[in-house]
């Protein structure tokens, strides 16, 4: 395909994205990607044409953002994976992308919402300093910190109040995150409180409607009596559960075998 129509199509894509017509964007993207690979710039090599690389990167970024708005996690991850060699070469491609930090932050947020903490930290290692300085990246980093500490109220505020969220794309993750914190709080509460009045439970779990609360309680299998929630108690008496005899026998036989080999 002659590059001219490629450029027009690229501009078409940009305008569709700006108009928030995501359906159209998602239709325009696959043929564009085919053109990119034909022009040899889908994967940036040292031999590729540097100017076109910037165009390719922009197209891929639009693709990633579209995937976010369409709530397609897999597609988003794929675009990010394709974008990472571009970012690795960022000194050579001009002009630097304005969306880079935002996309990295979105990826971190996605990992966090899936509870993939190991990947999260691995990605974070590559960022070093920028974590504190950049407003986009700071968001998932602080969220992770608060989640680990356990200050769920801060997480709640950060996800639900519009003023805290740096860009609208982050708000899309809000639902998933709220679910995550709710289940976390629920698990903590089971262990920590012997029993809890319904009103306080509603407040703790950030519910607004009683109906939602009751549904949640059913889901978790808690019992309600006199307006208080009672959590199932575990028996912590070790002797009740009996000695793990198989384990002990296995270990002792192992020791005997090893000792026999000592001359």
């Amino acid at each position: 395909m002659p590059p001219k129509s490629f450029e027009t199509r690229a501009r078409e894509l940009a305008s569709a994205f700006a108009a928030k017509d995501y359906e159209r964007c998602s239709r325009l993207l696959p043929p564009l990607k085919v053109t990119l690979s034909q022009l040899n710039i889908l994967v940036p090599l040292l031999s590729s044409d540097l100017e076109l690389l910037a165009v390719a990167r922009d197209i891929l970024e639009i693709g990633a953002l579209t995937a976010i708005f369409l709530r397609d996690d897999l597609l988003f991850s794929r675009y990010i994976a394709q974008l990472s060699p571009f970012y690795a070469m960022k000194d050579k491609i001009q002009p630097p992308s304005s969306n880079e930090k935002k996309l990295i932050a979105l990826r971190l947020l996605l990992l966090l919402s899936k509870n993939d903490i190991a990947e999260f930290h691995t990605e974070l290692e590559t960022l070093e300093d920028e974590a504190d300085k950049d407003i986009y990246i700071r968001y998932p980093v602080m969220l992770e910190r608060w989640l680990m500490e356990g200050s769920y109220d801060k997480v709640w505020k950060a996800t639900t109040q519009r003023s805290e969220v740096p860009a609208e794309e982050f708000a899309i993750f809000a639902d998933i995150l709220v679910d995550t914190i709710r289940s976390e709080i629920a698990t903590c509460s089971e262990k920590a409180y012997p029993s809890l009045p319904l009103m306080n439970a509603k407040h703790l779990l950030f519910f607004t409607e009683d109906a939602d609360l009751l549904e949640f309680i059913d889901q978790r299998g808690w019992s309600v009596k006199d307006g208080r929630i009672y959590f199932p108690q575990e028996s912590t008496d070790p002797l009740e559960s009996g000695l793990p005899m198989e384990n002990i026998i296995e270990n002792t036989l192992g020791y005997a075998r090893e000792l026999e080999t000592i001359v």
């Binding site: 200050s151 109220d153 801060k154 703790l204």
Partner: protein, 501 residues
């Protein structure tokens, strides 16, 4: 020729010679040069034996002496070495070395067809050994540009050979090659080459080079923070455990770092303990040991244990580890503001060590320690007080944090939400649980594995025991003779023997 000032008998051990040099007036340069040259020639003998007998121990011995030699190299010594080793200056390696020493002979003609790839007279081991000497020399001179171009050509010569006896030397050469490139910031371009050579060496069952290259690749990836790629390499490439211990130590260190980043703290701790144990415990390995200890301290903190204070006092570690000592103190006390202060103060040091991101994760450990201390010291404490003492932002956060701590098993307590306090549970008698059994099991397992590994690591030189037997028999015969002589001597006149007394 000027005679040395004092007639000291020439000693052959290296340490004594350096002492002698410093104690009296230094010997003339020619004499020093002659001594170094002798050492090098001795090494040639070892390499020869290594090649003939296929014994890697001799090459290892030669390489161990490398550290000592490198401090005494001068261009003149190298030139005389070249003269001694190569039959003619037109030999490819000889020409290369002379060129880089800046002592090109004007009448030299590099006639490739005459000298061929390598004249059969020069042992490839000796060839590579001298090239390594030059690498080390250029590195010490700090001449990076020369070093890199020399490295490229030296590596081409190396890849022309395919002999197993070259393994240890080849590994060393690759190390300096990669190091030179790293100093020159050409790290990423190095990767495809290293991967290709790793494949070749695996096919050829070249354990030393394989081990060294895996380690170099890991270092490369970690340098550019490509952690997932490093992780993949660890998973897929088998590391030959039978390689030299110094390489194994390095490999374990890198593996420890990768695992620490991926939150697998116990595995990381194990790797690091292995690395510290396998590293030489002398002062030559000080840099490595310090780095390993720094990482170990952080990992112990992340696992929730406090590292022992005795480490920090050892002279080798005191200065290097002092920021970490402050960090440990801050974590132990459990106060977040002090922790943040310590990070601020030593931030640059931590970033240089590459441990900054790991240390940031310690924040929750500080809070957990604080909560744990509260729970242990108070049977009942109001949430408000917790909030004040731990410098948390609000009572709500305090409540959530305590709940999470209980869930994670950090403390044994319950929260009473309406009255707003935390109540600690009775301390459970630990001997009635499975804990002691499991702890014992771990220790027994460890001792047994240690025993097994030591047995496997014992080496007996081949056929040496027959020689020993022969020696023993000879010794016995001699003793018998001696005994019979003494007996005969007794029957003679004794008085004459004891005149001297």
């Amino acid at each position: 020729m000027p005679a040395p000032e004092t007639q000291e008998p020439k000693v052959d051990s290296n340490e004594k010679m350096t002492d002698a040099e410093t104690v009296q007036k230094p010997k003339s340069p020619e004499e020093i040069a002659a001594l170094v040259l002798n050492d090098i020639k001795q090494n040639f003998g070892f390499l020869d034996k290594a090649a003939v007998n296929f014994e890697p121990r001799f090459s290892m011995r030669v390489l161990r002496g490398l550290g000592n030699l490198r401090r005494r190299l001068t261009p003149d010594i190298l030139v005389s070495t070249v003269d001694a080793a190569y039959p003619s200056p037109s030999h490819k390696s000889a020409a290369l070395i002379l060129k880089y020493l800046g002592k090109e002979e004007s009448t030299m003609e590099i006639d490739e067809s005459l000298s061929g790839n390598s004249t059969p007279v020069v042992l490839p081991e000796i060839d590579i050994y001298i090239l390594v000497l030059l690498q080390v020399y250029l590195l010490d001179q700090g001449d990076l540009v020369k070093l890199n171009s020399f490295n490229d050509e030296a590596i081409t010569i190396l890849r022309g050979y395919n002999r197993r006896t070259l393994d240890a030397l080849a590994a060393k050469m690759w190390f300096y090659y990669a190091y030179g490139k790293e100093l020159n910031k050409q790290v990423v371009e190095l990767r495809p080459l290293l991967l290709a050579v790793l494949r070749t060496s695996t096919l050829r069952h070249d354990t030393e080079t394989r081990a060294m290259l895996t380690t170099l690749l890991l270092r490369n990836y970690l340098h550019t923070q490509a952690i997932s790629q490093a992780h993949q390499l660890v998973l897929k490439a088998d590391f030959p455990e039978s390689a030299a211990t110094s390489v194994v130590a390095r490999y374990l260190y890198y593996v420890g770092r990768i695992k620490a980043i991926q939150l697998d703290y116990s595995a990381a701790n194990e790797s690091l303990i292995g690395a510290i144990r396998k590293a030489p415990q002398t002062s030559y390995a000080a840099g490595f040991l310090q780095a390993a200890h720094k990482l170990k301290v952080i990992i112990e903190l992340l696992m929730g244990d406090i590292p022992e204070r005795s480490w920090f006092r050892e002279p080798m570690y005191e200065t290097a580890l002092s920021p970490y000592m402050d960090l440990v103190k801050a974590v132990r006390i459990g106060e977040v503001p002090q922790f943040s202060e310590t990070i601020e103060k030593y931030g640059a040091v931590f970033k240089k060590d590459g441990t900054y991101m790991l240390i940031l994760r310690l924040r929750q450990n500080v809070i957990k320690t604080g909560i744990r201390m509260m729970s242990l010291s108070y049977s009942k404490i109001s949430l408000r007080d917790i909030c004040i003492r731990l410098h948390l932002d609000s009572e709500e956060s305090a409540e959530y944090i305590v709940a999470k701590a209980i869930r994670d098993g950090v403390i044994e307590a319950t929260i009473d939400h309406e009255k707003g306090f935390m109540q600690s549970k009775e301390i459970l008698d630990i001997y009635s649980t499975q804990e002691p059994n499991m702890a014992f099991h771990e220790r027994i397992k460890f001792c047994i594995s240690l025993h097994n590994e030591s047995v496997k690591a014992m080496r007996y030189p081949m056929n040496q025991h027959r020689v020993e037997l022969k020696n023993v028999e000879e010794a016995r015969e001699r003793e018998k003779e001696l005994a019979s002589e003494i007996q005969e001597g007794d029957m003679e006149d004794d008085d004459g023997d004891f005149d001297g007394l």
